[in-house]
């Protein structure tokens, strides 16, 4: 199966509100609606982290949603891209320094695309998601290269060990 090409054409989105004001969330919902319609890029909003490729996070990270955010990020399979939507997800925004806010999601998970604005406009979200597509493609390529080894993995007991032969990887000849 050409999984990589399908992934490029249909990235699935997972949305998590880490304590924001709902403003960016309704703009993400407006993106799914006919006027902006991000389904023309093959994107579907999905509720399952194990099937999604792009994580859209809104809101400054509150102390209770912090562990859930990291857990959701862990559950997503590689390759994955994280987009922080809005000023408060990127830096903490107006909530920066409040006692229950951490201020920005990039302290906990790696962020690839920052979308600015309070609240973000749908056009900006679409722009950020399209940028994320490029990053997703790049990450897919890196992942595929590291799997195709020039030498067979070592069998250690019941496990296949790829780590001990990592220095023998040669660049691919295409």
């Amino acid at each position: 199966m050409k999984l990589a090409s399908f992934r490029k054409k249909s990235p699935w989105i997972l949305h998590y509100n880490a304590g924001g004001c709902n403003g960016c969330d309704i703009e993400i919902l407006a993106c799914l609606a006919p006027k902006y319609d991000i389904e023309r890029f093959g994107m579907i909003n999905t509720g399952n982290p194990k099937q999604s490729d792009i994580l859209l996070v809104t809101g400054p990270v509150t102390k209770r949603s912090r562990e859930r955010l990291v857990e959701i990020y862990d559950q997503m399979p590689e390759p994955k891209v994280v987009i922080s939507c809005g000023a408060c997800a990127s830096t903490g925004g107006v909530f920066r320094g409040m006692y229950n806010c951490e201020g920005g999601i990039d302290q906990f998970i790696p962020v690839d695309v920052y979308v600015c604005g309070c609240g973000t406009r749908p056009e900006q979200i679409i722009d950020g998601v399209v940028q994320a597509l490029g990053i997703l493609e790049k990450k897919t390529k890196e992942l595929e290269e590291s799997v195709r080894l020039s030498k067979k993995p070592v069998q250690e007991g019941r496990q296949l060990n790829r780590r001990n032969i990592a220095d023998e990887i040669k660049p691919l000849v295409s």
Partner: protein, 362 residues
């Protein structure tokens, strides 16, 4: 007696916009007990408003309490601050505030309706309602300059004027919206597939609504005539612009949809009346006073009664600010409404409550 299972929903779920956790105890698909956990988004805004920000900046901060009803929060705070400063705002500012509150109510109710349709499994109706909703976002952008987070009310008045060409476009866009709203009303009222998921589901009786202290469309769907617009007249002249109470009797998801749709007709009439009878005058009352004393304000947000309390001590920073959001009053009713329903209809019931948790948790 069958075996009981506990099913958690949330904190991240496709049917939820916000982190909200329900733990359903089910027996043979029937929900017999519910546990709600709503405080995932507590940020500490009240403390920051009393320590970090000056009282004129607070109206921009409380707008960020909630993105859906930000104008209600900014207006309620501005009114409570004006009570502390003991100033009267111009009549034109009052009318412009009411205009934006009603436009906001149109977009919020349409969003809720579309969400109910989506969670009932009617994806096409979700798309249709969202398509018809875009006009209200465009109008709000034309008046305030931003699609959400308007920052329109400030302490002493409003920040922008209504341009004549924008007023004309509001009238003409509302005229094109009316047949679309009739179409939506027809679908939500007569569609047989939707009625299977909505009629008689998540019902609350009038007695329960009274005992559980419900507010907003949730209570009005059960037959309880509570609306702050009907009760207060001193801050915003609602009856002058043609407000009318809307109530239903059944109290289920279907009648909540009907309440929202019928309130849209009232909102459209109010917007038309405001634009046709907009008084001339200033936009803002300037003052150099500092807030002093205590005051409370009630305002009808799209989800129900919003309550603000503030206390000032003649300095730039307020001593105490208390926000009570409509969803906070409705949590007890939300838990009650699930009882005896099937687990499969839980997402539609959640959406029909129109919960706003960032308001509740602040």
């Amino acid at each position: 007696m069958g075996k009981q299972y506990e099913i958690p929903v949330g904190a991240q779920h496709i049917a939820l916009l916000e982190p909200l956790h329900f733990k359903f105890t089910t027996e043979n698909e029937k929900i017999i007990n519910t546990d709600a956990n709503v405080y995932y988004v507590h940020r500490g805004i009240e403390l920051a408003c009393c320590s970090k920000f000056k009282f004129r900046q607070v109206s921009f901060v409380v707008g960020r309490v909630c993105g859906l009803c930000s104008i209600s929060h900014t207006t309620a705070y501005s009114q409570v601050a004006e009570k502390l400063l003991k100033i009267e705002i111009p009549r034109r500012a009052k009318y412009l505030r009411m205009l934006i509150i009603e436009l906001d109510r149109i977009h919020s109710h349409l969003l809720c309706l579309s969400h109910v349709a989506e969670n009932s499994g009617f994806e096409a109706l979700f798309m249709k309602t969202m398509q018809y909703r875009e006009f209200s976002m465009e109008l709000l952008e034309a008046v305030c300059g931003n699609r959400i987070q308007y920052d329109f009310s400030i302490v002493g008045g409003v920040s922008r004027d209504l341009k004549p060409q924008v007023a004309d476009s509001i009238i003409s866009r509302l005229k094109t919206f009316m047949p679309q709203l009739d179409e939506l009303m027809d679908i939500y009222k007569h569609n047989w597939t939707l009625s299977l998921k909505n009629k008689g589901v998540g019902a609350i009786t009038k007695q329960q609504a009274m005992e559980l202290n419900l507010v907003g469309p949730f209570a009005r769907a059960a037959g309880l005539a509570v609306d702050v617009r009907n009760e207060t007249e001193d801050l915003l002249p609602w009856k002058e612009v043609g407000f009318e109470m809307v109530t239903e009797t059944a109290g289920d998801v279907y009648s909540r949809n009907m309440i929202r749709l019928r309130e849209l007709y009232v909102s459209i009439r109010i917007v038309n009346n405001i634009i046709n009878g907009l008084p001339e005058g200033d936009l803002i009352t300037e003052t150099k006073a500092f807030p002093e004393g205590e005051a409370t304000v009630r305002l009808e947000a799209p989800r129900g009664e919003l309550f603000y309390y503030a206390k000032g001590n003649k300095t730039q920073v307020l001593e105490r600010l208390k926000i009570k959001a409509p969803t906070f009053s409705n949590v007890a009713g939300m838990v009650k409404g699930f009882e005896g329903n099937e687990y499969g209809s839980a997402p539609a019931i959640i959406a029909s409550y129109d919960p706003c948790l960032s308001c509740t948790a602040r």
